[in-house]
Point group: C2
Chain length 437, copies 2
């Protein structure tokens, strides 16, 4: 296996260079490649550069830079290096070499312990892991990135270690309820509120499935159920759905009779795991804004579209962040009912009446409370968003981008934007079809 060969080569280069530079640093192959559970499309190679507990991560980082002169510097909890070696994407990650997983200083320090735990137990089950990974990939629940909110590679390995096979895992999942606990070493220490709790065998306080969302958990459950009833290759390799044509999109949107709104702005220069929580937060803020102003959002979704694929001049370096909202109605009447205090709260009532000296209708009494009908500030969702988008709570990086400007497209206008990722995004949004039994 060529990947394994490349890995060995890098490890020996690390050893040589550490010796030459007089740095105390050991190379460790971790991740799926280390234990023959690597699936094409997984991140290729994770090589950790471990310095002693009292050592300096900076030295390991300098070593990595020398090892791969052409590289990107990345940053998660601390800095690491991403490079291409022999056609594989390789991350070189500084970490501390620890004896005890409970003494870790950052998340990456835990990885070698995971790697060791699985490597010592997975022999003979590698194919089951690969099957389960490919199944999850096919049904769209593989990956613990925040964008996906699915199952990590390590989590898949633990599931197979626990249920002993691909099919065993599916059969068990069919019966899962929210709050399902899997505790391989029977040493759970902490109660978690997560939908699935898989106690980390090397760090019992930690839930390995913490990033898994309720909906992705049950997307897997639903797919497992369907597969058990009627197995087929298409679960692993679903036929690629082609996006709807512009004409199809138009007729589907017309048929729904809803109002679509697209908010779009240049994506900030941050990694996906930083961008997505901010996009979700922005999505939630817009939903709240809409609701507070009387508009109800049926569904919404966010996306990050690569700048090079977007039909947009000049191309934006970091692509476009997009939020799509589907509304029941886009226009509301001019008046709105405004409820005041109960009639027997005399002080509140006085203040309420003073602040509405000339309502359109009222004041009148409904269920014992004073009510006035006043003019709505925004009668269309578009006006509302145009005016208020800059004032709602967004993540730090998004807020900065939004201050520099954003576009809002409503209904037909969205269809005039003809880039491919948008068409795929819209198609998937409108279809919204999962494998559910």
């Amino acid at each position: 296996m060529r990947l394994r060969c490349v890995a060995e080569d890098i490890l020996s280069q690390v050893e040589e260079m550490a010796e030459r530079e007089g740095v105390s640093c050991q190379g460790l192959l971790v991740g799926s490649a280390a234990r023959n559970t690597w699936l094409a499309g997984d991140h290729d190679l994770d090589i950790f550069l471990a310095v002693p507990e009292e050592g300096d991560l900076g030295e390991a980082l300098r070593l990595a830079r020398k090892l791969a002169p052409i590289h990107q510097e990345k940053y998660a909890e601390h800095a690491y290096i991403r490079t291409i070696i022999d056609g594989f994407e390789v991350d070189l990650v500084p970490c501390y070499a620890l004896k005890d997983a409970s003494r870790i200083k950052s998340a990456v320090d835990r990885t070698p312990f995971h790697s060791r735990y699985v490597a010592e137990r997975i022999q003979g089950l590698e194919d089951q892991v690969l099957l389960l990974k490919q199944f999850m990939k096919g049904v769209g629940v593989y990956g613990s990135e925040l964008r996906v909110g699915g199952f990590s590679g390590y989590l898949v390995e633990l599931l197979v270690l626990n249920y002993r096979s691909f099919l065993g895992t599916l059969e068990a999942a069919d019966l899962w309820c929210p709050g399902q606990i899997i505790d391989l070493e029977s040493h759970s220490l902490v109660t978690h509120q997560d939908p699935l709790i898989v106690v980390d065998p090397v760090d019992p306080k930690r839930n390995v499935a913490a990033a898994l969302t309720l909906d992705k958990m049950f997307r897997f459950v639903a797919a497992a159920r369907c597969f058990l009833r009627s197995p087929g290759e298409e679960f692993f390799f679903p036929p690629k759905r082609s996006a709807f044509s512009g004409e199809d999109l138009r007729s589907k949107i017309m048929r729904r009779g809803t109002s679509l709104m697209l908010v779009e702005f240049p994506a900030p220069d941050v990694v996906e795991d930083v961008l997505f929580p901010q996009l979700r937060k922005a999505e939630e803020s817009v939903r709240t804004l809409m609701m507070r102003n009387g508009f109800s959002v049926m569904r919404s979704e966010v996306a990050w579209h690569d700048g090079s694929k977007v039909n947009d001049l000049p191309p934006r370096a970091n692509g476009l962040a997009r939020m799509l909202f589907e509304l029941d109605v886009w226009q509301l009447p001019r008046i709105q009912k405004h409820f005041g205090p109960p009639l027997w709260e005399r002080e509140h009532l006085s203040r309420f009446l003073e602040s509405h000296p000339e309502p359109i209708s009222g004041p009148y009494i409904e269920d014992g409370r004073a009510v006035v009908e006043i003019s709505r500030k925004y009668t269309t969702a578009r006006e509302l968003l145009m005016e208020e988008m800059g004032r709602i709570s967004l993540g730090k990086h998004l807020a900065a981008q939004v201050r520099n400007g954003y576009n809002i497209y409503v209904g037909e206008e969205i269809l005039s934007l003809e880039d491919k990722p948008l068409r795929a995004f819209l198609s998937e949004f409108l279809e919204a079809r999962g494998v559910i039994c």
Copy 2:
């Protein structure tokens, strides 16, 4: 006082006729005329024909028919006679003469006890009663008919007996909260859930204010508060508001931007106190129907319009029953979200998925539940009401009328109906202004 004189005359006629016919029956003047608290516009004269406890109400009724050959026969808990004598409207009501109010057989038997209780205590306070009645009339809370849901004449008298004056009552009311209890004889026996509880001095289990609605109670409180701050004749005799012109109505409706719907059908031949609860029930049923189908009703109101005043040929004997609804929106998108069971309820889920084999979108998972987007049965409030009006829960008499047909007018169409009571109804509905401080 001519009214009193007419009353005395009728009472002696009753006496004579009872003697002539050999019927044991005594005439009693009850109501406000009996105790000098009669206000113009109050029902004029209530004369009770009391038969002994073991006697026959039918004999009293026959006596009443002879006494007033030209009359209407009315029916509340049992039959009575309404006639015009010397220009006054007179009700001749058979009842039992009882020694003890706790042994009453129907509500009317209680009236003589009320009359006696008040008559024995009200001397010197009659003007205070008249002031309070006229004030309540001016601010629209006088009358315990179900249409009004306000204060009965007896209730007003008890308030004055309790608070000793018109102003005293207003000052006390300013501080009322829901659940306020007034117990003149300090012998409350039963807990009531009503907004105002005035223990009946002659029947301690009964709440004299049972018919008073929360909103009418606090309409009085609000008006009392305003009057105490800035007294004026207009509280007693509010300037008659003229209805808006057709042009004004049109522009006010346009300005609101809402959707008005009017449902109209011939009123059944029943008294107001039978009709109104049914109209309120129908109103509530329509509101529920709207809500369940995704339409939100901002406000609604019902009315009974005299057939002779309605521009409608042929005139309907009992007039028209009308229900007015104001909606946020009159049209909704074709699709609607339909939530199914959680993914872990496997049996329910199977049935749900089977019953929606081809949704427009989905099934997908939201908050752990299966969701499909399906076609809405009714996309406009008009269609909905046209189809479903005959199927909703209505009172007995209304249901019969609705089966015979009803009209629905939407938006502009309502303005094309030009009868006067409708214009007044619409004007009041749109204005919806109360005296609130």
